[in-house]
């Protein structure tokens, strides 16, 4: 689309950028989330992109196709006939030693399911933005996190974004994380459908040269196109092989990812002024109770939390950025000593009143603490149901009651449900 040319021609922004210092190497533009992602993809300039359109991701495939058509990237694009083939082609291209990206949403991600495990099992550093959308049925094109949560055990690193800026920043960082020799795992960058993908926001686009230097070159450990060292990829490893050991190594890589994600987030801060860790906390040090949320909802919730803190209410907030690997230890440390926590989940597990996936995992993370906070779960926003300030206030009221009374009235709650 025209957007990419507009970006390239736009003026360098000399204003204060980032959250901690003045950095004059970026330009601020007003773009939608999908264009923020395709801008990151333009700058990454992957060797191969294989993708298939689905709402609300479609605009990424379209703008990237235009970038290819305009000769603004060196990428060879495979316009596959399905998401199953998108991930299959990505796997083939990555095994052939090239830097590969794809992107999808919802049914497309579900259709890739079998290949997600193959990509991670083969240790291929494919980067895939997933624009979060509800899974059918009933068919619904709006945001919730059921699609990527369905892939939480697939061995992919999963990083949530709060807004278009973070979608851009995370996509750039994902390349470095995925390709780190201690990791070599695929990475999913998550952004909320429509709320982020289709809203126009101010996004700072870092200069091309600086991004190129930041992402660097891909040096694959093995390649199908290394004629001196031919390899057999995806071989049969049955009863007497090393299957169990391979799986354990994947878990090792996930453990390594905690440090690498933090290192990359720090290095990214140096070029952008925006520093990233595993999660972001607001006022946790002196809070008595806290909210844990992820994705675009974190923005609304932060606004409310800051307002309450200014009125002397001892509340804190954690915005979960990295969902896989799950930073259980760090979260438990941060929340230790609090009286109560409310966990916001944008998907359900249908496990019989166990709550959403973040709640189940967070509650389990708190188990070993001497002083465990009470835990309440709010499932909200399924199929794009709006999360209003009033609804968050209702949940906060209940959280404060629980902290004060030492009792949780109802553990799993559905926020904004028509009852």
């Amino acid at each position: 689309m025209a957007i990419s040319n507009k970006l390239i021609n736009s003026q360098t922004n000399k204003e204060k950028t980032g959250n901690d210092k003045t950095i004059n190497n970026s330009k601020a533009v007003a773009i939608v989330g999908t264009d923020a992602v395709s801008e990151a993809m333009r700058q990454i300039n992957p060797d191969v992109v294989a993708a298939y359109p689905i709402t609300p991701q479609t605009a990424i495939v379209e703008s990237f196709s235009q970038l290819v058509a305009d000769g603004l990237v060196k990428t060879h694009m495979v316009t596959v006939e399905s998401e199953h083939s998108a991930m299959s082609a990505a796997i083939g291209a990555s095994a052939a030693g090239s830097r590969v990206m794809t992107c999808t949403s919802s049914q497309g991600l579900a259709y890739m399911w079998e290949l997600l495990y193959i990509a991670s099992g083969l240790r291929l550093p494919i980067v895939m933005p997933n624009v979060n959308r509800a899974l059918s049925a009933p068919i619904n094109i709006h945001c919730d996190h059921s699609d990527s949560m369905g892939a939480r055990d697939a061995g992919w690193i999963q990083i949530f974004s709060e807004n278009a800026q973070e979608a851009y920043d995370n996509t750039l960082q994902a390349i470095r994380i995925a390709e780190n020799p201690d990791i070599l795992l695929p990475v999913m960058v998550l952004l909320d459908g429509f709320i982020i993908s289709h809203a126009i926001e101010r996004v700072e686009i870092i200069d091309n040269d600086i991004v190129s230097k930041f992402v660097g070159d891909f040096n694959p450990p093995y390649s199908l196109l290394d004629s001196q060292n031919p390899v057999s990829v995806g071989t049969f490893d049955s009863l007497y092989g090393y299957f169990f050991e391979f799986k354990r190594q994947q878990e090792e890589a996930m453990l390594n990812a905690f440090k690498v994600i933090k290192d990359v987030g720090k290095e990214f801060g140096e070029i952008s002024g925006r520093h990233y860790g595993l999660f972001e906390s607001v006022g946790i040090e002196d809070a008595e109770f806290a909210i844990i949320a992820t994705g675009s909802a974190a923005g609304t919730i932060r606004h409310l939390v800051e307002d309450m803190r200014s009125r002397g209410i001892p509340i804190g907030m954690i915005k979960l950025r990295v969902y896989r690997p799950f930073p259980a230890k760090e979260l438990a440390e941060a929340l230790s000593g609090l009286k109560a926590v409310a966990v916001f989940d944008r998907s359900d597990t249908f496990a019989g009143n166990m709550g959403g996936p973040i709640f189940i995992e967070l509650r389990s993370s708190l188990y070993d603490l001497q002083q465990r906070p009470l835990a309440i779960n709010y499932i909200y926003g399924l199929g794009g149901r709006d999360l209003s300030i009033e609804l968050i206030e209702k949940a906060l009221g209940e959280l404060i009651d629980a902290a004060r009374s030492g009792q949780v009235k109802q553990t799993v709650n559905y926020l904004g449900l028509r009852e």
């Binding site: 191969v48 399905s82 083939g92 052939a96 049969f236």
Partner: protein
């Protein structure tokens, strides 16, 4: 795309072919007498000198038996991804090659070839195959066709002939084996208007090697359907594999032809067509068809073979 594939300087003389390196090496665990490795080796005799090769395999007998970790029988680069996506996976490899070659990161000339079973090709992999053929990748897709899912224990596929016993099309009091005709996948591939499509059999090695040479010369997608009998599934003595394949050709149940740049051509004439029963009677999977109560099915099978053969002769301009 319309280069004349016939005018390549390649030999099909045995004394030249024996000098070719073995790409699928010995020591694999396919059954003795299996048709699949014969199809693979004959195809790979067509690899031009001085090119590198990447082989792709969907899940199936060939894959599980040639890549038992930590061993591999493939003396070249090889990838197996899943059951239904060899064509899509290989199209990714080929695209990476084009991208890296264009950037000067790879110097050598590469060719890309997939060997899929009939299940991974006719059925679950058809969408991925069609997509890859339509997109015009320079890759060769070979179906080593043993007319059923052998790896999982002889289940019917879209390539299984009518009347055949399989474990999911058994015969019994109310069944005489598979009810449906097989689909004509070679014609479906030809309908993609790609540079080269052919049907071949391991019994006619010279014909197959010539087709392989054309396949490697073609500058675009190629599909070759190779009859590769499986004695376990077809129920015949393992030493008869090649002979059974020959009877399939002689009865016109498996005609040998090619479609080069849209032009259909019969590559092996059949001067003395034998009755299809002469081909079927050696195979346990068709034994029930020779009972009195199933003679209609046998007759229908013959009718179908005759009709398809007539249609093919028309397409090849050989009809009388």
């Amino acid at each position: 795309m319309t280069a004349n594939l016939t005018k390549q300087k390649t030999s099909t003389k045995l004394k030249d072919l024996v000098k070719k390196p073995q790409i699928l090496t010995g020591g694999h665990r396919l059954c003795a007498g299996c048709g699949a490795p014969i199809a693979v080796r004959q195809m790979l005799l067509g690899v031009p000198d001085n090119v590198k090769l990447v082989v792709a395999n969907p899940t199936g007998c060939l894959e599980v038996s040639t890549t038992i970790y930590p061993y591999t029988s493939w003396n070249t680069s090889y990838i197996h991804c899943a059951f239904e996506n060899a064509a899509a996976t290989l199209s990714g490899v080929e695209t990476a090659y084009k991208s890296l070659k264009e950037q000067g990161k790879i110097k050598e000339d590469y060719r890309f070839i997939a060997f899929g079973g009939d299940g991974g090709t006719y059925d679950i992999g058809l969408q991925s195959l069609s997509g890859a053929l339509e997109r015009g990748h320079r890759l060769i897709y070979v179906c080593y066709n043993n007319e059923a899912y052998m790896n999982t224990g002889i289940q019917r596929s879209g390539a299984t002939p009518m009347g055949s016993w399989t474990t999911t099309s058994p015969h019994g009091n109310s069944s005489s084996g598979k009810k449906e005709n097989r689909k004509d996948l070679t014609a479906i591939a030809a309908a993609h208007n790609i540079p080269y499509v052919a049907q071949a059999s391991i019994s006619h090695w010279k014909d197959l090697v010539r087709k392989a040479q054309k396949a490697f010369a073609a500058d675009g997608p190629v599909f070759i359907n190779v009859l590769s009998p499986c004695h376990r599934g077809w129920r015949f003595p393992m030493e008869n594999t090649v002979e059974i394949a020959r009877l399939a050709v002689q009865s016109c149940a498996w005609p040998l032809f090619e479609v080069e740049n849209g032009k259909w051509k019969l590559t092996t004439k059949v001067p003395k067509k034998i009755p299809v029963g002469e081909y079927l009677k050696h195979q346990g999977r068709f034994a029930h068809l020779f009972k009195e109560e199933n003679k209609d099915v046998l007759a229908l099978l013959q009718e179908n073979v005759d009709a398809e053969w007539e249609k093919l002769l028309q397409l090849c301009g050989e009809a009388e």
